[in-house]
């Protein structure tokens, strides 16, 4: 079975999807990613889809699931490298990538994650009654 490699770069996990995703590969990737997020404490996941000619509803759903899993593990997901044709097809098919942020390339994705994480830290630092009560 093919396994999509997950690369750690600083505070970010990078996944480059190049192979056709089967049900099994997709589930494996979700499990691997969840484990790596917990093991590394990374705050961002970048999924590169430069190599994909087509993003169908299956891949779209997989991306949404990954984003949701990452979210509950306190990591932001950004999809990068979407081709113009893929974007057009997505809209034509009426597929919206729910809860997924996109960026033009890996570098911009990293900036987006860094900014989101900085916002979060700033928010955490605020003396907030609710969080104080919870902690």
């Amino acid at each position: 079975m093919e396994r999509v490699p997950i690369l750690k770069i600083g505070d970010i996990l990078l996944v480059s999807i190049q192979v056709d995703m089967s049900d099994q590969t997709a589930v494996q990737l979700q499990e691997d990613l969840a484990e790596r997020i917990v093991a590394t404490g990374c705050h961002g996941v970048i999924i590169d889809i430069t190599a994909l000619d087509i993003v169908d509803s299956f891949v779209g759903r997989m991306l949404s699931t990954i984003a949701s899993i990452s979210k509950v593990l306190d990591a932001e997901t950004v999809v990068v490298g979407m081709r113009p044709a893929v974007a057009i097809t997505l809209v034509e098919l009426g597929l919206s990538l729910n809860g997924i942020r996109t960026a033009l390339n890996v570098e911009r994705g990293m900036e987006l994650i860094a900014a989101a994480h900085a916002d979060e830290l700033a928010f955490d630092d605020e003396p907030d009654a609710e969080t104080t009560a919870l902690s």
Copy 2:
């Protein structure tokens, strides 16, 4: 034809090899990489082979060729993510990855390239008779 995506991260180009390389894919990758090195002025190429179960003589030669091409374009090549089994097979087959540096993971590869580039800059700064005569 499949095309291996090349990701730019800062001063480095990252290639994650996940598909079986055919003659054509390998040549295409070499061309794409050479073009991107020139276009971006990057000083390092990181090739991730985490996904490869086997590095045969064909892939070994491709890696060596990429390293040589990068070298003449003033970029350092580092191969990362080699599995233990792959390393053992390489040695057993008597394949030496000529002119290729390796690192355990992408982060260490980046450190290696940064260090190599810093050395080079330090060397360039030295008042050396030979380089002065050439420039």
